[in-house]
Symmetry: C2
Subunit: 198 residues, 2 copies
């Protein structure tokens, strides 16, 4: 074995990241090896800081320092609208758009029976209780536009059917700055079906 | 700012890796956040192990545990042939081919005046001394087939001109399993120029 053991261990650990294969992991490990101890320590303490300082908001499961996140505890947000997302990273993306001012609910995934993700693996019951216990009048479903996202949306729609709460989903259509000529058929089809009046 | 500080710090640190942008770094940081403490500790100790346990071989600059690496200290290797490479990762690739049984010399880069890499930034003087002080009769240049690699090879060729040491370089041609039809002109041209007799 030509690769020394500590290097091999680091390569194996780094290749556990999603989307990082053995070759990329080797490149990353060799990069770290070239850096001085200060820089490596900074990376290591940043990684440990993640686990030590951050937790899930007890209401919406957003990533936060505190028991309840800044969004859930803000009096400026509309507490009667909940946007359901797959992951906390979706919250960051939606917040950047500055168009939504309600609360969030992180489901922690989407339904995918083939990968063994069923409703009991997601924060579905929490969402139902949250909507029932609070004066929520709209639930916006903001999943990725794919099969799993669609399946999860349909499941939640059925679940909320008898609650009388308004359920909406974010629009599908041409992305801003997109090009009709180069858009795929499904997107163009959706854009026509969801056309709005001027 | 919607992204909590410890997460932002981790994203900033992870995006210092070569080829890892802000978006990938965010994905990696969120992945770590989902892992349990054991797994994160394993990654962290693997990273620290890299820096604490490994060093450069004092002869060839290969990555090793010891003062002198396994290759340099092996009596089974031909000590009269030195293969010069850009980086220690090139040694791993060459060793996997199992075709070379001499010693190595890691230059620590290739000449690139535009990026400020000059001969004094590389282990050129060490190589010259090593060749002079030992009974070396062949130096094989195994750089990547690009402009910087070629420049470095020509520079070393000139440097060793008066030493009487045989200087060779690894062959250019069609890669094994490659396809003539889909090879680029430069590769086909090189393959013709370097044709060998059966």
């Amino acid at each position: 074995m030509i690769i020394p053991e500590p290097l091999q261990i680091a390569i194996d650990e780094l290749s556990k990241f999603p989307g990082i294969g053995k070759k990329t992991a080797q490149r990353l490990a060799l990069h770290l090896l070239k850096k001085d101890m200060d820089e490596v320590s900074r990376l290591v303490s940043a990684i440990m800081g993640l686990k030590e300082k951050l937790r899930e908001c007890s209401i919406c499961s957003n990533i936060t320092y505190k028991e309840v996140c800044d969004i859930c505890s803000s009096p400026k947000r509309e507490h009667s609208i909940i946007c359901v997302v797959e992951d906390a990273s979706d919250i960051f993306a939606i917040e950047r758009s500055n168009e939504f001012h309600g609360l969030y609910h992180v489901l922690g995934g989407v339904l995918s029976p083939l990968s063994g993700v069923n409703p009991e693996n997601l924060k579905v019951r929490d969402l139902l209780e949250r909507v029932k216990d609070n004066d929520v009048h709209e639930v916006i479903l903001a999943f990725n536009p794919n099969t799993e996202g669609e399946t999860t949306a349909l499941y939640l729609l059925k679940l909320f059917k008898d609650t009388g709460v308004k359920i909406t989903r974010i629009a599908r259509g041409l992305p801003v700055g997109g090009d009709l000529e180069f858009s795929d058929d499904a997107t163009i089809g959706r854009a026509f079906l969801s056309r709005v009046e001027y």
